[in-house]
């Protein structure tokens, strides 16, 4: 060992926070390399973008409240659907889970920090830069991109001044995600405490390891696809133009080769958090730990070979339709393993129903609904009826809102006492849960009916027979949107002291059996595990 390292140790012997504590003032948050600071930045950024993207959703639901054009022009409406999707996917859900990974992965595996702390700082700021660049397009001549978040050519090439900005923002977001993912993989492979073998890692760490692999594999693919859009628009290339020998369908293949793993990038960490929370409140070890790991890996593998089920109606050879149909159905098997494992974990458990558990149970039920509609759409001949209708909108919102978003909420309630040292207000938490759960179903369930009846997605106006369910859906949307302000209130209230109740290290009864983070003080000191822990919880083995 070198002298510099020994000196580093001496500082710690002197005083825990001697010269390694946080910077003073605002600068702390700009130049920080601390995984907890960066995790906090990610989580606040995700929360802010959740409200920005949510506001766009409110515009959409307001316009669809009644048939006819009420509030916005069709072009702006289409910009709203496009930007809502991009902001929610790249600004809210993904950064939300990266924030959780930053906070929790080092603490869960007994590491002092992330493996590459400077790069960690850069991935956060690249994310901010990417979203800023994307947001500027709202104010440009020709408006923000309005061709849908999939950016299909030739439609997207009709975007005005916004096009190159949107494309470069995708590049920045891609760089951010790849760096974040590399960091998580290096941390998990290289920084585990002695005794923390791979098959002892909490499921959240496992799911993030696999998610990080997906990110590194597919973000460059998206970057390549949008680069070709850029050259087709500005440099005379013919990648997506049949007159020059290219093919617009090629873009769809490349996009969905990225896009399908991308949707699992948003759901696998969701599975990880659910697998972490449910055992604690069922007071039982997770049922089928190793099968959970293998199911996650299987889902990740399958995600690379099913992409064209997003394109059943585009005009594919029949062999392609059949292959992608059967391959897609296979995904139901590992996903079913997970749902049964969560259910079996709760079976005969001594369950209590605090807010994180309520959100997790709602996730299991509502995610299953979203999964089943996915299975319906995997059947190619049926999909011809569902394609590009509100049925698909209902499907993917069920697997994103009451799944990924609910679990992000659950994670917030579950770990806020650990992060802040204060207890949140359980009454308001439960109110938030019930309002959210009831309204999210009023919001999205009728969209199944609308879709089956033939209402197309991405339209600002519709035929009058769709009026009733659209109004009900919009009412649900407004209640859901307003309810989320309760979450904002709880986060701020908890940081400022919450109920005033002193929380213990483990916060939840016997939580120390479920993860190393509960052996640390609440809130944990700025640096944790500067000496590796020796006690490894083995509850799930």
């Amino acid at each position: 060992m070198s002298a510099a390292v020994a000196e580093h140790d001496d500082h710690h012997d002197d005083h825990e926070h001697h010269d390694h504590g946080p910077e003073k003032g605002l600068l702390r948050w700009i130049i920080t390399t601390n995984h907890k600071d960066i995790g906090t930045l990610y989580l606040f950024f995700a929360l802010a973008m959740f409200f920005v993207g949510g506001t766009m959703a409110m515009v959409i639901r307001a316009e669809l409240f009644e048939p006819g054009l009420q509030f916005v022009q069709p072009q702006f409406f289409n910009s709203m659907t496009t930007m809502h999707a991009l902001v929610m996917v790249f600004g809210a859900v993904m950064p939300g889970f990266v924030g959780l990974a930053n906070w929790m992965v080092p603490m869960m595996i007994g590491a002092p920090d992330m493996a590459l702390p400077r790069m960690n700082n850069m991935s956060f700021w690249m994310l901010v830069a990417g979203i800023l660049l994307l947001s500027t397009t709202l104010f440009m001549e020709g408006g923000a991109p309005a061709g849908g978040w999939t950016l299909y050519p030739p439609l997207v090439l009709q975007t005005g001044k916004a096009l190159p900005f949107a494309i470069f923002s995708v590049h920045l977001l891609g760089i951010s995600s790849i760096m974040g993912a590399i960091n998580i993989i290096a941390t998990i492979f290289n920084m585990r405490a002695p005794g923390m073998t791979l098959m002892k890692m909490p499921l959240f760490v496992w799911t993030w390891l696999i998610t990080a692999f997906l990110l590194i594999a597919v973000m460059p693919v998206f970057a390549g696809a949008v680069t070709m859009l850029l050259t087709d628009k500005f440099f005379d290339t013919s990648f997506f133009d049949a007159a020059g020998g290219g093919d617009p369908v090629l873009y769809q293949h490349i996009f969905w080769f990225f896009g399908h793993p991308e949707v699992y990038i948003m759901i696998l960490p969701t599975f990880g958090v659910a697998s972490t929370i449910i055992p604690v409140f069922a007071r039982k070890p997770l049922f089928g730990y190793s099968s959970m790991v293998y199911a996650t890996a299987s889902i990740a593998f399958l995600s690379f070979i099913v992409w064209a089920h997003h394109m059943f109606t585009v005009g594919m050879p029949i062999a392609g339709e059949l292959y992608f149909m059967y391959a897609t159905m296979l995904i139901a098997i590992p996903t079913g393993v997970k749902v049964f494992n969560w259910t079996a974990t709760m079976w005969k458990g001594a369950m209590t129903f605090e807010t994180p558990m309520l959100f997790s149970i709602a996730f299991v039920v509502l995610f299953t609904i979203g999964g089943f509609t996915g299975l319906m759409m995997s059947i190619a001949p049926s999909d011809f009826q569902y394609h590009d209708t509100y049925f698909i909108v209902a499907h993917f919102h069920y697997v994103l809102v009451p799944s990924s978003i609910f679990i992000l909420m659950a994670a917030g309630y579950y770990w806020l006492p650990k992060w802040t040292g204060h207890m949140y207000n359980e009454k308001i938490g439960q109110l938030h849960f019930w309002l959210s759960t009831i309204s999210v179903n009023i919001l999205f369930f009728p969209q199944h009916f609308l879709g089956l009846a033939g209402m197309p997605r991405r339209i600002p106006d519709y035929a009058v027979q769709f009026a009733d369910w659209n109004m009900i859906s919009s009412i649900g949307g407004f209640i859901f949107g307003a309810s989320q302000l309760l979450f904002l209130y709880i986060v701020i209230d908890t940081i400022k002291g919450g109920t005033g109740e002193k929380v213990t290290n483990e916060v939840w009864e016997d939580a120390h059996k479920h993860g190393l983070e509960w052996t640390l003080p609440s809130p944990p000191p700025y640096h944790t595990f500067t000496t590796p822990p020796t006690v490894i919880p083995t509850e799930h083995v």
Partner: protein, 287 residues
């Protein structure tokens, strides 16, 4: 020995913020330039200046920290993992363009020629189009062109890159055996061959544009040709600059047989660029 309490955690990172600023200003400038805004090129230059200053500063910081022995073996492993996964992401980036070449040659161009269910497209839109490769498509986009032959400069460039892979490995052996002279000569040869490759590539592009009628606008052949070879050429430049930094550091006496992550990273990157070229030579030029 590698324990967590010896782990080096850097503090107060200003270079990453500067990297973000530089890259964002460059890209926003480029977008403005593409939109025909006059501020575009100025912004691009400003962004690049920030980015290059950042590279110089961050590299210097890392080199100083490394040479003063602040990095334990465990830090070295983190860096190596980081580089490996970065190269994996680069492989996926090139896979998109190789995939595009495969798809257009084997699927979309034959479909336009009437194969499979494409008969109606051919009859209704371009009845005289026959599927061949190379092609600039049924509308003969960009006019007449000559395809690039494999056996002139491209073959010479293949030999150059293969030779540079050998000299790079020779330099590594020199470093491991503490033969500093061999290290520096090997690196210098690698950097020289790298820039020679880029020069020949520039000549090839010049010929394509001025004498062969082959441009980015020459339909799908021109698009895939310049996209693949262009991104590869850009990566050769990056790799050669990376190796130049390593050469400079070696001449300052940096790197030890047991501690030379930066050298390894540059060498891995160089071999990656080398392998991509072999793929290009086979699938773009030969076949």
């Amino acid at each position: 020995m590698s324990t967590n309490n010896a782990y080096y955690i850097p503090h107060k990172a200003t270079w990453p913020v500067m990297a973000t600023l530089g890259l964002t200003v460059t890209l926003a400038g480029f977008a403005n330039y593409l939109n025909g805004a006059s501020i575009g090129s100025t912004m691009m230059i400003a962004g690049l200046v920030i980015f290059i200053a950042m590279l110089a500063g961050w590299f210097t910081l890392q080199a100083t920290e490394s040479e003063s022995g602040m990095y334990s073996n465990q830090v070295g492993i983190s860096y190596r993992m980081g580089m490996m996964w970065f190269i994996f992401s680069e492989i996926m980036f090139f896979a998109v363009f190789f995939g595009t070449l495969w798809y257009t040659r084997n699927l979309s161009v034959p479909w336009l020629g009437g194969e499979g269910t494409g008969a109606a497209t051919k009859e209704l839109l371009w009845p005289t189009f026959e599927a061949v490769w190379p092609t600039n498509g049924p509308a003969a986009v960009g006019g007449h062109f000559e395809p690039m032959s494999a056996w002139g400069l491209p073959f010479l460039n293949t030999l150059i890159l293969l030779a540079s892979g050998v000299t790079c490995t020779w330099a590594h052996h020199g470093l491991l055996a503490n033969h500093r002279d061999q290290l520096i000569k090997g690196l210098a040869a690698t950097v020289g061959l790298g820039f020679l490759f880029v020069a020949f590539q520039a000549i090839e592009y010049h010929e394509a544009y001025t004498e062969m009628g082959l441009t980015l606008g020459s339909g799908i052949y021109g698009s895939t040709f310049f996209m693949l070879t262009g991104f590869h050429g850009f990566h050769v430049c990056v790799g050669a600059i990376f190796l130049s930094v390593i050469l400079f550091r070696s001449s300052k006496g940096h790197f030890k047989p047991e501690n030379h992550f930066a050298f390894e990273a540059a060498a891995w990157y160089w071999h990656f660029v080398d392998v991509v070229w072999l793929g290009l030579f086979i699938f773009v030029y030969l076949m």
